[in-house]
């Protein structure tokens, strides 16, 4: 295993209403190649900002982000566009293009990344099959359910064969059953292609279900990181402890009622 993503001393301060707000306060993080790494935190902890700094949707103030040996923050604009073809991103609100059909949504990243035109159709069909959307290629996103929409989102993120996926609360808008299906899909994609996935979420179960290692983000700092099991069993941070307590509580509910995911 080698390190794929390495974030060193990353800082980001916002100025809402002129007052400084440290959203990322010296983040250090290492994600191994091919793993599914979870980042958990409450809303406002800086999770999304961290995710968005990695593909530079957000500018960071200082620090460095190395992705597969490339220093993301030093790329020129042109190089950044190219690099983004190698980073897939999945969103909580799917962010699909309503004016396009499912097929066109999945084909779009190929078209902008200069994929050979003659091979686009084949690649789209291949990807659609992987995510289970073969029947829906001609539909518009407006006609799909939440789970199907996220499948399009995932297809769009992996169609260019990227090395890395950022999942920013990808299952937070879905019901528990659909969440499981989407997590299974991510797991399957990871197992098949060895793609590295960074899962940003506030959902304990999602992390427990598909992540091996995780980090806890608290007020812009990584307060602990390590194996998921260790953190749930022996939390050292405020957030980790709270999540572990909620987790135990849920487990008890599950034991007594036999429900929940």
């Amino acid at each position: 295993m080698s390190t794929y993503l390495k974030i060193t001393d990353l800082h980001k301060t916002f100025y809402p209403h002129g007052q400084p707000l440290k959203v990322l306060d010296g983040i250090n993080l290492e994600v191994e190649k091919g793993e599914i790494f979870g980042i958990i935190g409450f809303s406002g902890a800086g999770k999304s900002t961290l995710a968005r700094c990695i593909n530079r949707l957000e500018t960071s103030d200082s620090g460095s982000i190395e992705l597969g040996g490339t220093d993301i923050l030093k790329l020129s604009k042109k190089e950044l566009l190219k690099e983004r073809h190698r980073i897939g991103m999945i969103f909580q609100n799917f962010n699909l293009f309503d004016s396009m059909t499912v097929y066109q949504n999945i084909a779009y990243p190929l078209e902008v990344s200069g994929f050979p035109k003659s091979k686009i159709k084949e690649r789209v069909q291949e990807t659609a099959e992987l995510v289970g959307l073969t029947e829906k290629l001609k539909a518009h996103p407006g006609a799909l359910s939440g789970g199907q929409k996220q499948r399009v989102g995932i297809a769009r993120a992996i169609v260019t064969n990227p090395d890395f996926i950022i999942s920013d609360e990808a299952t937070s808008a879905l019901d528990p059953q659909t969440t499981m299906q989407i997590l299974d899909l991510l797991k399957e994609i990871n197992a098949k292609s060895g793609i590295t996935i960074l899962m940003i979420t506030h959902e304990l179960d999602a992390i427990r279900y598909i992540c091996n290692r995780m980090a806890v983000l608290e007020e812009g700092k990584i307060t602990e990181s390590g194996l998921v099991r260790d953190i749930f069993e022996n939390p050292n941070s405020k957030t980790g402890e709270l999540f572990a307590r909620v987790f135990k509580l849920l487990q008890n509910v599950e034991l007594t009622h036999g429900s929940g995911i």
Binding site: F91, N95, S99
Partner: protein, 236 residues
Amino acid sequence: MSLLDSSLWDVIVASFSPEIWKDLLGPIGETLYMTSISSLITLVLGLIIGILLTISNPDGLVPLKVSYTVSGWVINALRSLPQMIMIILMIPVARLIFGKSYGTNACIIAIAASCIPMYARIVESSLLEIEKGKIEAAKAIGSTNISIIFRILLPETLPSLIRGFTVSVITVLSMTALAGMFGAGGIGDIAVRYGYQRFQHDRLFACVYILIILVQLIQGIGNLVSKQILKTRNLV
């Protein structure tokens, strides 16, 4: 026939007489010509300026604060001119371009000058309506700004752009009637010359019918097209 010496009913009946409508055919053609040419110019230039405004917005794709502020100021200044004053202001410009300051083509310049800034603002507000997440997704995919504008921004907001354009075409139409007072011909010219100056209210009424039908038609087509697009996208 005038309301001064005939009953309202008689004037209404007279307003449907064939001879009145025969005289109106030419002016209807002029109005349609003025409206369509002016609308086309408004559409093209309004779209371009609206797109430039949107992307130069401080939160836009290519933030250009100074240019955004200055162009915003210019547009507001142009929009604060009443249509009639714009027509008068454009007389020398029309003379420069067409060699005469009256006539249908001369008035198209004034109409476009007045409606372009309005449609540019409508385009801007339509484009700003797009969910920011879609732009983010397009950026994350690695799209260039050109593909974001032409493949995401414009298609995603198309129904709203069409509704905005419908409003503009109706404004253009109403302005052609006003331009009729300044030698542009068209239905406005008939309404002023016969209805106002000669008290031939039957002719005035006929002009009113035409304008009502035209506005209904334009609005109806606009609504239909934009709704059809939303339907195709399963958004209604």
